[in-house]
């Protein structure tokens, strides 16, 4: 039994490393998609965030300032996507694809200019994201002992706590505030929303920029917590996984959270089983993706895509 709890602790520990970046990005995606703008540029926005976060932290010696700068960098590309898709009524997939080239392109380009390499310098341990509860787990005895279950689960980076708090905040915004109601209205039936005096364009701009900011946070929570530097391969695919999590979670913040946790947990199992197993590590690596498909088919079923998703809004003349 002790062994089992200890192992579960280890798995949850990895889960809480994988989940937060996905969660930030997924919440961003929820904002954008629910307001009616498809954003496949999340991947690129995460990459620029991952880069800007490290640069910001190296410059200011403060991970939180770095984190904010990452959000800003993601937000700039969010603004670019908003301008293209809302003002210019561009095809949302094309614009997102462009962002997925531009943002990582800029990140690696600037990285070469600043550091003469495709990798940034490392953030030293003192300037990484803090672990708030570290002090609690110093003892060698009791449930708060170092390396124990509670240590593994709760002694995690501040970004993990922040990500889960944000889920609650976003849920509250979406379902308990006027602004949230407006976002949902704009995503489902922009014309009707417009008739009621809601500024469709403004709501969509806010949401798409927010999606960039949150994706930037997601990127930074990789490079300032799990890893401590930026390299081109640091994000690969996580933005797309976040988008998948949002579809999986039926475009709801709480649903996206469950999907991200499932995905993170499968990764935890993968890492745990992977160490010292007879089965090929490549087959074990498939677990998260296969489980996602199976759960999708068996338990989730059809997800309702916001009705106005993908369509630019044209005001009637």
């Amino acid at each position: 039994m002790d062994e089992l709890i200890k192992n579960l602790g280890l798995i949850l520990n990895t889960t809480l490393m994988y989940t937060p970046p996905l969660l930030f990005a997924a919440l961003g995606s929820v904002f954008s998609e629910r307001s009616g703008v498809v954003n496949i540029g999340i991947e690129g926005m995460m990459t620029i965030g991952a880069f800007a976060g490290v640069v910001g932290t190296l410059l200011t010696s403060n991970p939180w300032l770095g984190f904010l700068i990452a959000g800003l960098a993601g937000g700039i590309f969010g603004l670019l996507h908003a301008f293209a898709t809302i003002t210019c009524k561009a095809d949302q997939t094309i614009s997102g694809t462009a962002i997925n080239f531009l943002a990582p392109g800029f990140a690696i380009f600037l990285c070469r200019v600043l550091y003469d390499s495709t990798e940034t310098h490392s953030v030293d341990l003192a300037h990484k994201m803090p672990r708030f509860l570290k002090g609690l787990f110093q003892g060698t005895e009791g449930i708060f002992r170092k390396g124990g279950f509670l240590d593994n689960v709760f002694n995690t980076y501040a970004t993990a706590y922040l990500a889960f708090i944000l889920v609650a905040v976003v849920w509250f915004v979406f379902y308990k505030t006027k602004f949230g109601l407006r976002i949902r209205a704009v995503g489902e039936h922009p014309k009707a929303a417009d008739t009621l005096g809601i500024n469709v364009i403004r709501i969509r701009y806010i949401c798409v920029i927010l999606s960039g900011v949150l994706a930037g946070f997601g990127g930074a929570s990789v490079t300032l917590a799990t890893v401590s530097q930026f390299r081109p391969s640091v994000i690969t695919g996580q933005g797309f996984i976040a988008i998948a999590a949002v579809i999986f979670g039926k475009f709801k913040p709480q649903g996206a959270m469950l999907a991200c946790i499932l995905f993170g947990f499968c990764n935890g199992v993968k890492v745990f089983v992977g160490s010292g197993s007879a089965v090929s590590p490549h087959l074990i690596s498939m677990i998260p993706y296969v489980v996602t498909i199976i759960v999708l088919i068996l338990f989730v079923g059809k997800s309702h895509v916001p009705a106005a998703n993908g369509k630019p809004y044209e005001k009637a003349r």
Binding site: A90, I94, A98, N100, I108, F109, M286, L296
Partner: protein, 362 residues
């Protein structure tokens, strides 16, 4: 205002079509301008850099041939995605179908012993089938069970990725403990031995396959009832169903055809360029680059052919950018800017209609 309304819409559509090519050219120019600015930022002369780029692509027959070699898989994945767009699906799964196609070609290339005239078509067939099947599974999940295809495809891309690594490392196909698979037999290679000396080691027949695929897809889309059906489903699912088209079959076959093209792209890369498959360290990106090619080519098969050649040239020529001390990522920034400006070119159209309204003529 009145004048505009009185004109038949057919004329308007024609103008829009003619302008599409123009907007693409303008977008390419803007892309290179932004690239030039970035080069100036890092104190590299854009004239020198673009001169080198042109020379690296057109300088010698060998360079031209290598650019075409780089373009081949991009044309095919671009075609795959363009076809899917025409049928109302976004095949973000081309990446995984590409990987499965490479595997199919490699497996048949390694295991089968046959003369080239049989062996090559057999490998291509295996690749196309593998890609088609990988796509069709997602098509089935979507059509039968209502699963979201974008979500499924993203997962299938990664499953294909790890499956490929598994096969490469498996006893049957691994090359003596190395990070690569065994090489395909000489009879399966697409290389053109007689031209190797003049055009480089990697020159291959792949481009012929790509051009044939472009023609076939053009014919399917425009001249067959199958193409008509698939487009009808893409345009309006309910109307198509009402008209008696089996929508589920249409969805599965559309993704399968798209997948077959991506699979063929994988085959040209294995049989023409690499001859074996390496263990991946990151996604290859042909599927995602295919999205770009499809966009620049305006999802038209012939447009995709030229867009693929363009991208291939940029990729091959762009490698030399570092000779001047310029980051090669400038190519990504140029390509990204081009797509971005193609995307927002609709605003120019809107502005133009406004101007022509004011002017009254045109």
């Amino acid at each position: 205002m009145d004048q505009n309304n009185s004109k038949p819409t057919v004329r308007k559509e024609k103008i829009a079509k003619d302008n599409k090519a123009l907007y693409t050219v303008i977008s390419i120019l803007v892309g290179f301008t932004i690239g030039a600015i970035m080069l100036l930022v890092v104190k590299v002369s854009p004239i020198k850099a673009y001169g080198l780029l042109i020379e690296s692509v057109f300088g010698t027959p060998k360079n031209i041939a290598q650019s075409v070699v780089y373009a081949t898989p991009l044309i095919l994945t671009g075609l795959s995605i363009a076809f899917s767009f025409r049928t109302g699906i976004f095949n973000i799964g081309a990446e995984g179908q590409f990987v499965m196609g490479s595997l199919g070609a490699m497996v048949v290339g390694v295991l089968v012993d046959a003369p080239a005239i049989i062996h090559i078509p057999l490998c291509l067939l295996a690749a196309a089938l593998a890609g088609a099947l990988w796509g069709a599974i997602v098509g089935y999940l979507k059509a039968k069970l209502g699963a979201n295809e974008v979500l499924c495809m993203i997962m299938f891309n990664w499953i294909a990725y790890y499956f490929s690594n598994y096969v490469v490392k498996s006893k049957l196909f691994n090359d003596a403990g190395k990070q690569v698979s065994k090489k395909v037999a000489d009879t399966a290679k697409l290389s053109v031995n007689s031209l190797k000396a003049s055009l480089g080691q990697k020159v291959n027949w792949g481009i012929i396959i790509a051009i044939i695929a472009v023609i076939i897809i053009y014919l399917i889309i425009n001249k067959t009832t199958l193409g008509y059906r698939l487009r009808a489903v893409g345009f309006n699912r309910n109307a198509a169903e009402y008209a008696g088209i089996n929508v589920k079959v249409a969805i599965v076959s559309a993704i399968a055809i798209s997948g077959a093209l991506a699979g063929l792209a994988g085959a040209t890369q294995v049989l023409g360029y690499n001859y074996s498959i390496s263990e991946f360290a990151g996604q290859e990106g042909y599927g995602f680059e295919g999205i770009t090619v499809a966009m620049i080519g305006a999802t038209h098969p012939v447009g995709v052919l030229f867009a693929g050649l363009f991208y291939g040239a940029m990729k091959y020529g762009g490698k030399n950018m570092n000779l001047l001390g310029a980051p090669t990522e400038v190519i990504d920034i140029i390509m990204g800017s081009i797509i971005f400006f193609i995307a927002i070119s609709s605003i120019i159209k809107t502005m133009k209609t406004r101007f022509s309204k004011k002017g009254g003529t045109k």
